[in-house]
Amino acid sequence: MSDKPKVAFYWCASCGGCEETVIDLDEKILDVVAAVDIVFWPCAMDMKYSDLKAMDDGEITVSFINGAVRTSEQEHIAKLLRRKSATVIAFGSCAVMGGIPALANLKNKKDIFERAYLDSPTNVNPGGVVPQEESEVDGYKLTLPEFFDTVYKLDDVIDVDYYMPGCPPTPENLANAVQSALEGFLPAKGSVLLPDKSLCVSCDRNESKPDDITISQVYRLTEVQADPEKCFLAQGIICMGPATRDGCDYPCIKGNMPCTGCFGPVSEADQGARMIASIGGIINAEKEGDIADVVNNIPDPAGTFYRYSLSSSILGNQRKEK
């Protein structure tokens, strides 16, 4: 084995987009591969959990773990990787704050199993079978990992050194992090490896905002033709920019789509609270009925304002006692 730093990538409850970011390093990935040994990457290379178990504690220089923690298997591997790694980076919004999978925290395991396996109109399940952690087939005992009631963010189950949100983080974000890690330039433990300011600060539509934005109604993208120059919020289209951390280079806005908040909130902020404060502050209505008209046009505030951050929300993330 060479003396090169060892790097691991792992995915928990995630879509695979974060792994895509690694691939999207394009030819830069060759520099990475030249500089480090990738010792564990189940998505792309053939490795077994037993290989990981056989490594020394702390032997891996950096582990990038993406995905939320939904099952006992994910918790188990996260803990194992923690033991084997000097540094763990929560990579991507699911690992940092629950991400899309954490939207399930508005329900619980019972609701989800009933819907997915019993009630969904496309199901044919006359025996009412739902997944069991243990079952017997032809005399063999089969086991499945436990499906938790809660979708956890990574630092609910292990100690995390650095955070890099994004759905997914951009290849530039990753390349910068790898570069800093290799050069030993990482900031204080616990830091988010991205700027601590809101997206609006960088967004090139910020200048188009009037000093005092007011909106009389909130529109869905399908209801209006979005002006490609003007701030979305000023057009009455919900844009999560004010409540979202900068660092993505606003690709969505450039594509004339409002920000949905995938980089999560800035430090100490609750993304939903921030968004309610922002939107509530600009609604131009005095009477209860007019206010209700606007509120009614936001059918799913929790799902909209916490699309990626429910596991780190003040009201929805408390670690379940185990």
Binding site: D270, G280, I298, P301, I314
Partner: protein
Amino acid sequence: MNNFEPKIVAFVCNWCSYAGADKAGEQKLDYPANVKLIRVMCTGRVDPQFVMRAFRVGADGVMILGCHPGDCHYRNGNMKTLRRFRLFEKMLEQFGINRQRFFLDWVAAGEGKKFQEVTTEMTERVRNLGPLEIKGFVEREVG
């Protein structure tokens, strides 16, 4: 009557509702000791995050009391609060928290009696709902 004593946090603005609470005191009007006042300069200062945090750390109910429309000493802080918290209430239910645990109203400096009434009613409402427990997943108390 059940004997559960709810914890209620009330954010009151300095200029109207805190003065209203004071008025209740001057007039010797009792209000429930369950209600703990937090004075802010204006209800517009009440970040939704404060209310969430109050629930999270153990409040069973949260109130915001401010100047009547048109009377806010910072012109429209109270109206911003009204809009924010109408949206907030809707979201609260998505988190499985009954919206009756939150209450927003206007109490003027002279309205000692109204202060007594709204705090007493809120305490009874929340007493009937029982304690709020925020767990890891959302245990729903609304359908």
